[in-house]
């Protein structure tokens, strides 16, 4: 017990990768064994995360469960982990979603071993980003998360579909999507690596807890480096490198076009985790690194960020409404919803120190969690119907409600959570963002309402095109007979739905932790 609580974060972080190794050692043919081992292994970090949740003292400032071991002594980088209310929320989200994703992947039949191992490795990558308190370590985990995702899309993505590039050249859609995802993220990572190195060289440490204190106020440099840069230049370079890396990951408009492609082509569970957690890495980067390290620069450019966020909200919703592909419709909804996160962050950056900033930031963090739940749920439900019909084209559906009433009910529920219906989770966070941002960026908030309006339009379009209509004869008989959502699938949706409802009715249990953490940060 003592061992567990003193190494809690390390255990949470490395259990998945350990499980990945175990899975890799199992024989390929034992598909069911591999699935169950992966599932059970992914439940362990969840159990530990829950333990962490209940042990965590929200009223205490700073990071808890810190662990620090020297790693690269020469450059003063250490293996340094810790959680506060914000990262704890994200850890909880990751550890909740991963087992559900693995359960959702039970329908994968092709190279199960590799798939499950990669998935578990992905979890470590994501958790590492949330838990790291060392910049170099942060970067390492940032990159680790990228590789498994690339292979998941590239190898297990949807088999159909082609994308025309130029001059009639065509590539497989999943190849295109995975490559685009990789290139975009790498483009950000390059700057990130440079920024991390610059900070390390200039400040002489990668330790974030120290950096939070010294970096914002640093004025003179002992260690200017080979180029003889001034403090201002270094800060500007690092700031923009961070912003670009995180903006690509969120993604902020207009860097968002990789998202619909990647989400659409990824396997179901891949889309779930991509929308559920990976997008949050970018937003988390903003609020963990950009805002505390660059309060002044962040404030200067907050207006521009808010503008881009508003564009994401509006055009994400519009593009979503313009889709005929169900999965792409859901994918674009992520652009729309993450826009609110970024808008909240921008307002917090601009108005740091005020009550509005705290409210906006509360909304942003809660929206990250909420979007994780609803987006994962929506992608899963798209997957459920895709597995049965092998089409995502909305025009092929319609009139499915009489065939699959339970599925229909679940879909309407999840869609409503995504729409932000009061009483479900999305509303609370959107309201907090709107409330927090209104006094700071009034015009952007008002414009964002266009997006909120079209959120309604695309959600209803999805429901109408899939469920409503006279009984669809095409799917009633023969090999195409549409079967009702099964027990395993319901088991995946149930926890998500319970949490959506719970957070909508009684958000205080989560929001209190976030609120305290945010209040201490800003």
């Amino acid at each position: 017990m003592e061992f567990i609580s003193s190494n809690l974060l390390t255990l949470i972080l490395f259990l998945p990768v350990f499980a990945a190794v175990v899975v890799a050692l199992l024989p390929c043919e034992e598909k069911n064994l591999i699935r169950w081992v992966a599932l059970i292994a992914s439940l362990l970090p969840l159990a530990l995360a829950l333990f962490l949740w209940f042990q965590f003292d929200a009223s205490q400032a700073g990071f808890q469960y810190e662990q620090q071991v020297t790693w690269y002594e020469a450059i003063n980088s250490s293996y340094h982990l810790g959680v506060d209310g914000v990262s704890l929320t994200m850890v909880l989200l990751t550890t909740v979603l991963t087992p559900l994703c693995i359960l959702a992947s039970f329908s994968i039949n092709d190279r199960v071993k590799g798939y499950m191992a990669l998935f578990l490795m992905l979890e470590t990558g994501m958790l590492g980003v949330f838990l790291s308190l060392d910049l170099l370590l942060f970067f390492v985990f940032w990159e680790i998360g990228l590789v498994p995702m690339y292979f998941l899309i590239n190898q297990w993505g949807s088999e159909k579909g082609e994308r025309e590039l130029w001059g009639g050249m065509k590539v497989k859609a999943r190849t295109y999507a995975s490559f685009k995802f990789m290139i975009y993220t790498m483009a950000g990572s390059l700057g990130l690596l440079l920024a991390v190195q610059l900070i390390g060289v200039v400040a002489g440490t990668f330790n974030l807890t120290q950096l939070f204190e010294i970096w914002p106020t640093i004025t003179a440099l002992d260690n200017i480096g080979p180029l003889g840069l001034s403090v201002g230049t270094v800060k500007v370079i690092v700031f923009w490198a961070f912003v670009v890396a995180f903006a690509l990951k969120v993604p902020v408009w207009p860097f968002h076009t990789w998202l619909p492609d990647a989400h659409t082509e990824a396997p179901t569970a891949g889309s779930m985790i991509l929308a559920g957690v990976l997008l949050k890495l970018g937003a988390y980067g903003f609020l963990r690194l950009v805002l505390p390290l660059f309060p002044e620069e962040a404030k200067t450019y907050a207006g521009a960020l808010a503008f881009l966020a508003t564009m994401a909200i509006i055009f994400g919703a519009l593009s979503s409404f313009g889709q005929t592909d169900f999965k792409r419709l859901v994918a674009y909804s992520s652009v729309n919803h993450m826009g609110f996160v970024v808008l909240g962050i921008a307002a917090a950056a601009y108005a740091a120190g005020t009550e509005h900033a705290v409210i906006a930031m509360n909304g942003a963090v809660l929206q990250m969690f909420n979007h994780g739940l609803s987006a994962a749920g929506m992608f899963f439900l798209v997957g459920v119907i895709y597995e049965r019909t092998h089409t995502r084209n909305l025009d092929d559906f319609g009139g499915l409600f009489p065939l699959v009433p339970v599925y229909g009910g679940v879909l309407i529920f999840t869609s409503m959570a995504s729409l932000g219906l009061p009483g479900l989770n999305g509303f609370v966070s959107e309201f907090l963002v709107v409330r927090g941002v209104w006094p700071v960026f009034t015009v952007y908030t008002a414009l964002g309402m266009i997006g909120l309006f079209f959120t309604g339009a695309y959600i209803l379009k999805g429901i109408k095109q899939v469920l409503h209509g006279p009984l669809n004869e095409k799917w009633t008989h023969g090999e195409h007979r549409l079967t009702e959502i099964n027990a395993r699938e319901l088991l995946i949706m149930a926890p998500l739905m319970v949490m959506m409802l719970w957070l909508g009715v009684w958000p205080a249990w989560l929001l209190d932790v976030i609120n305290r953490a945010v209040g201490m940060l800003f």
């Binding site: 908030t445 309402m449 309604g456 209803l460 209509g469 006279p470």
Partner: protein, 728 residues
């Protein structure tokens, strides 16, 4: 149990019923409706206890010390956002009619969805029941109405709806009010789309949700603004703080010349415009009639659409902040204009509609316009009074129309005469076939027309006229008077066409009174449609001092701390107007429509000419909106945003980059790597190879040849050497 605890519990039974039916009992129809009606009964009982206790307190005392209780809900920055329940005089009045209408409509739904009838022959989920063939004891086969295939689901949805409405009424703050507001919006969407198999239904459900959402997003902004400015959303904390209201009325908002209070008020009012279907967002309500009739009665007449007006009555101190000098605030001007315009505008449309439910839908829009206009001129007591009376008589009329349709449908099935059972020109003479429906509908219709003295509608409408007159708002008064005249006219048209004269179709001839579950609610609501008016008789009506105390004036104690009941002295002019328009309209309606024969067209069609076509097509607003909003929105989404911006521009730039990179790579390969680097390497390699090839000729592997070559070379060398030696 304290009264506050009871108030907390009131919304819960219907919510519980929703979950129970959805999760467990949906296969058992009888159990499902028992749970739902039982839940409605529990909430009704609780509401009546609360209402009774409120009466005991007296309006003045209750205004100062309402029943309230709050808990901490959201941690926000350094404090907690509190949510709670509140019953003050306005809340009690609204709770009273909500509890009654909800219970009545739950009961009515049992009969409306043909409980106890056999299962239909070809009925399917998503379509209305088509009827079942039964064989009587003589072996004759005939078609009778069949039970709704999604019977349980209906009760689940209306349960959730009732939860939303109770939440809205009992909320002590704008945020939970908004929660109830939106939950009702969802239920409205789901219930309009109850028969989602029909194309028109699918369009109507989306239209309803999207149109009201226009209002909702503005309202959300208003809430955010108010919350930022006030630091609270609690009604009493805001309205009993006169200093704050004053401050808000003085602060410029930066948007045109509106004050902060004005902008917040208008933003919130846009929410009402959507929810209460005021012009220009009125288009969804008539289409919402695609839903089952209990839904039209409950959601689209008595409760949800009234909630919009309820919200602005609640917000009245804010809307009127800054109006001390007798001038209307900008928010009030907007309300007076929109309200009276809507009242007249939709009354004209109602005149030319033939569908019995659509007439009522336009009438609802028009009556809500009356309330909004009344608020706009400051007559909030009259607005609240009309809100309650209207809820009773309009619910009654809708349920009555449902009963009529049901009766005619019975005739349609029985006679196999497939006429539209909702078209009033296919009816006639129903008063003998459906006496209870007839008498109750007559009461409801007269209440709507404002038939003098006996009906509730008269008292409430009269009070609006009196207020408009007393405040000198002549334009509003005249507009509303014309609207009231048209109201009486189209109501009488409806009653005459449906119930009087002779049956115009075989179906109408075989129409048949509906079961007790449907007629009982009619009778009870009819009682209220008459008696509730007595609660609001002006104290000096006709200049006499014999009337009981006007109980409704107690509502004013809700709003602000120091407000005195705005006593208006009795005046004959508004009363005469009120009498004139009501009786005139009713009389004219009777005269024009009493002799309509089967197959005859509307007698108004000829005299009105193209105007009639314009009215019948609702001024072509649907077509106009489709052209200027819907089609462009689809184009912007599909083409501009997705195809052009994302796929074309952004991905285009991206692809140009990658193409350029690809080309650059090609250049490196084709002009540097291949010719220079590879070329040098190849040169060396190929050179050696060529050399080797050249030497291959002499490497034949034959020893004799080698010997010969060796000898030749040896001799050659020898000769060369000797030659050099000899010639120095």
């Amino acid at each position: 149990m304290t009264i506050e605890t009871l108030i907390w519990l009131i919304p819960l039974p219907p919510l519980l019923a929703f979950f129970l039916i959805v999760l467990f009992t949906n296969r058992n129809k009888a159990l499902s409706h028992t749970i739902a009606v039982g839940a409605a009964l529990l909430s009704w009982g609780g509401s009546m206890v609360v209402f009774w206790s409120a009466l005991q307190e007296g309006a003045h005392h209750l205004g100062e010390h309402p029943f309230e209780s709050a808990i901490s809900w959201l941690p926000i920055a350094g404090s907690w956002f509190q949510i709670g329940v509140l019953i003050d005089p306005l809340g009690a009045a609204v709770l009273f009619f909500v509890a009654w209408t909800v219970l009545m409509i739950f009961l009515y739904s049992v009969g409306y969805h043909n409980f106890g009838q056999p299962k239909g022959d070809h009925d399917r989920a998503g379509l209305p029941p088509h009827g079942a063939t039964v064989e009587d004891e003589h072996g004759h086969k005939h078609t009778v109405p069949s039970i709704e295939p999604m019977y349980s689901r209906f009760f689940a949805f209306i349960g959730l709806f009732a939860f939303g409405m109770y939440t809205l009424v009992l909320s002590d703050n704008l945020l939970t009010l908004f929660v109830g507001w939106e939950i009702m919006g969802l239920c409205s969407y789901l219930l309009i789309g109850f028969w989602y198999g029909k194309k028109s239904v699918r369009a109507a459900m989306i239209k309803a949700f999207i149109t009201t959402r226009v209002g909702d997003v503005f309202m959300l902004l208003g809430i955010a603004y108010l919350y930022s400015a006030a630091g609270t959303l609690n009604f009493r904390e805001i309205f009993f703080n006169e200093e704050f209201l004053h401050h808000l009325a003085e602060t410029p908002s930066g948007f045109f010349s509106l004050s902060a209070a004005g902008l917040i008020g208008i933003l919130l009012f846009i929410g009402t415009v959507g929810k209460s279907a005021q012009f220009p967002l009125h288009v969804w309500l008539p289409d919402a009639m695609e839903g089952p009739t209990p839904v039209s009665a409950m959601i689209h007449a008595a409760t949800m659409v009234s909630a919009g007006v309820y919200m602005v009555i609640r917000m009245f101190p804010l809307l009127s902040a800054g109006a001390e000098h007798g001038e209307l605030t900008s928010a009030m001007t907007a309300m007076a204009f929109i309200g009276s315009f809507t009242a007249l505008f939709s009354a004209t449309i109602a005149v030319a509609q033939n569908d019995i439910k659509r007439v009522l839908a336009y009438s609802t829009i028009s009556q809500l316009g009356f309330m909004v206009a009344a608020l706009g001129i400051g007559a909030y007591v009259a607005a609240a009074f009309h809100l309650v009376t209207h809820a009773f008589f309009k619910a009654l009329l809708f349920l009555g129309s449902g009963s009529v349709i049901h009766g005619v449908e019975h005739g349609v099935l029985h006679t196999d005469d497939h006429v539209d059972p909702q078209d009033m020109f296919n009816m006639g003479g129903l008063r003998k076939k459906m006496p209870i429906t007839f008498w109750t509908f007559l009461i409801g219709g007269f209440a709507l027309s404002g038939f003098p003295l006996v009906t509730a509608g008269f008292w409430s409408k009269d009070e609006i006229f009196a207020d408009a007159f007393a405040h000198g708002n002549t334009v509003v008064l005249i507009t509303l008077a014309i609207a009231a005249f048209l109201t009486a006219f189209y109501t009488m048209r409806q009653i005459t066409l449906s119930f009087f004269g002779e049956p115009r179709t075989k179906a109408a001839e075989h129409a048949h009174e509906t079961p007790w579950t449907m007629t009982t609610p009619l009778v009870i609501l009819a009682v209220f449609a008459v008696a509730f008016g007595w609660a609001g008789i002006p104290e000096d009506f006709l200049g006499l001092e014999i009337w009981p105390k006007n109980m409704f004036h107690g509502v004013v104690y809700t709003l602000t701390e120091h407000q005195q009941p705005a006593g208006i002295h009795f005046n004959w002019i508004p009363l005469l107007i009120s009498l004139g328009v009501a009786l005139g309209g009713l009389g004219l309606g009777w005269l024009v429509y009493r002799k309509v024969e089967a197959g005859q067209e509307d007698p108004l069609k000829k005299p009105l000419g193209p105007a009639y076509t314009l009215l019948q097509n609702k001024y072509y607003f649907d077509e106009l909106y489709d052209l200027i909003f819907v089609k462009p929105a689809i184009w912007i989404s599909e083409t501009l945003s997705y195809k052009w911006m994302d796929r074309g521009l952004i991905d285009g730039i991206l692809h140009t980059f990658s193409r350029a990179t690809y080309a650059l790579g090609g250049i490196f390969r084709n002009y540097i790597d291949v010719p220079v680097i590879n070329g040098f390497g190849d040169l060396v390699g190929e050179g050696v190879k060529k050399l080797g090839k050249a030497f291959r000729v002499i490497q034949t592997g034959r020893v004799q040849q080698y010997m010969v070559i060796a000898l030749v070379l040896a001799f050659g060398t020898l000769f060369f050497y000797l030659y050099n030696l000899m010639i120095p």
